[in-house]
Symmetry: none
Subunit: 204 residues, 4 copies
């Protein structure tokens, strides 16, 4: 019984990963159930024993990302100082983007045009992360550790950097973006944002 359960979950995961792969490569619309099945090594009909529809596959991918989006590393970072926090956040999000690359790419083509997916994506993934970052920044500003700033602008600005850099690494690794390690990225961006947000003398 335990075995059965485990097997079902393993197969479900295998299908989900294959789907994310194919969605990521061809986009949701162009991806075919047949190819997803072929990549798992099963018949197309079998997928429907685990997922209600092609769309259900997409939503399941979203759910999985949601489950992974906010983890301990992120939660524990709030106890660090500004420099450590920024570095920790960058490190964790770069890791998240890398580990879930196929899943994120699978979703991204549809998020633009699918309201339900958009809703899930923004309220469940982006929203909590932004909220956490905003709260931390405001606390630091209040404590005089960072200069006053509009967090609703700064947080998306930092997020956008991570998103675009991760996307470029996944899509065009050789063009535009030379091979840069995570740590180099973190180092450079930490400086940029830390200095960019440091208390200004003229504002003291």
């Amino acid at each position: 019984m335990v075995w059965r359960e485990t097997f079902r979950e393993q197969r479900r995961d295998a299908i989900l990963e294959a789907a994310a792969e194919v969605f990521g490569e061809k986009g949701y619309q162009r991806a075919t159930m047949k190819e997803i099945a072929a990549r798992v090594g099963i018949a197309p009909g079998t997928i429907y024993l685990y997922f209600k529809s092609k769309r259900d596959l997409l939503l399941a991918i979203a759910d999985r990302l949601i489950g992974q989006a906010v983890d301990q590393a992120l939660a524990q970072a709030v106890h660090l100082d500004a420099k450590g926090y920024i570095a920790a956040i960058l490190r964790d999000r770069l890791r998240f983007a890398r580990e879930n690359q196929a899943f994120l790419q699978a979703l991204v083509t549809e998020v633009w045009t699918d309201p339900e997916l958009q809703e899930r994506f923004f309220t469940q993934i982006i929203g909590p992360i932004f909220a956490s970052g905003s709260r931390y920044l405001q606390a630091q500003v209040a404590a005089g550790k960072l200069r006053p700033c509009r967090v609703e602008i700064v947080v998306p600005a930092v997020a956008g950097a991570i998103v675009l850099l991760s996307a470029m690494r996944a899509l065009v690794p050789d063009r535009l973006l030379p091979d840069i390690s995570d740590e180099e990225l973190i180092e450079e961006l930490t400086q940029l944002y830390l200095y960019g947000l440091a208390p200004r003398e003229e504002e003291r």
Copy 2:
């Protein structure tokens, strides 16, 4: 003859704009030639007198963006000081994103999965902009006006901020991102990057 030519071009443009609209709303795959035609007020077959295929419409949209991507404002900004340059770039790219919103949104769903589109998008649009920004930054660093930094990281970081903020304004204006004017955005981001890149005392 000149008139004919003009009429052709006007109609071509009308089709292109309708296509961008529909692609933007539904995504390339879900958009139908029939709806594009209906929005122009012509028959579906007529589109094929102006464009070879549905895909050709997409490529033409890309071409049009390419034509608009690098304009004078951008070219002239290089003569400004760092603060002015950053503000000018931000202002210009926010304007570009706003003015070409439909066209950009039309492209974005397919850029992820279409190699040819990717090629055009990155080498023709992103590439030149990045190159220009990189050159300016390096010159400023050499002149001691900005601290040494890895431009291949900083430039995408700034670009990512613009991209994500523009995307969020287009997709989820009410959620997450309060109603912020361009100038407020520019002001905040200029500070962030200017201070973030200012020469450090310990590095002098």
Copy 3:
């Protein structure tokens, strides 16, 4: 323009007739759009220019029957005496069954299991015919031309005879039911019902 209109209607009719044929032969479920198209000599996709779906085809068949179900012959029969009326009704319904045989057979397999079809069939086709018959019978009874009877039983009884005899003629012409002309049927049934409903002496 008139031509176009006529052509559209002709083609629509051709599709409808082919559909009725195939539905009648194989039943609605087993019938395929491909075969219907083939029988009209068009491509499967073309059917969808005239009908929204396979089901729409079925409902259109029902509508067509509804339009033909109650005609003048039936309406004028109410002015005849009992013998003439019964004969007229029988003649008209036998004709209706024969002329619309394919359409009726197309419908019959689905009427049993499809609530919407059932609704249409009973309220639009069976209902009006039964109502008309019931009214006539009651008037004749009131006038002392026929014996008192429960019309809600007699009318379906007569209808059932027509239905079963028509069905047997269509399905098993050689078995059970020898080759009998319409007039022979009418003659025999008219006697059966006329005598069966004639005023009884003991009831006067």
Copy 4:
């Protein structure tokens, strides 16, 4: 061994009844083996240990009806006088229709389009009943108890009344057909046919 046999038969019957139920509700084509199995409380695969195929289920249903179609009541009625005979036949067939409603309804959607089923249905069920009725009528006519008539028309006419009235009771109990008891039906129809077939003075 006897027990085993009994268990097998019980389960076979249970499956058959569930199948008749589902076929009757949804029609043969729309019914699924899965639902039939679920209604018996077994796995789909188990059905195949008792029946060769879905179609085999349908044929078994037909066989079961055949076994029940002609019973003693029907056979003994031939010793009654015309009035008693007609009433007995009506009573018995109404009972048969009611008791086997699910089975009859299961068959009816397919009889129209399935030649083999048609064959069985008409030669094994309808045929013997018609033959028995015809024989009785002819004997009564020969004995001067009923007027000469074409039995090959009258018998289906009576049968059609029973079929349609039973069908309407099953399908649309509330519409068209008020709630009428079997005995009321028998009473009214017996009069209709008895008087309709009574010897005519002018024919004596």
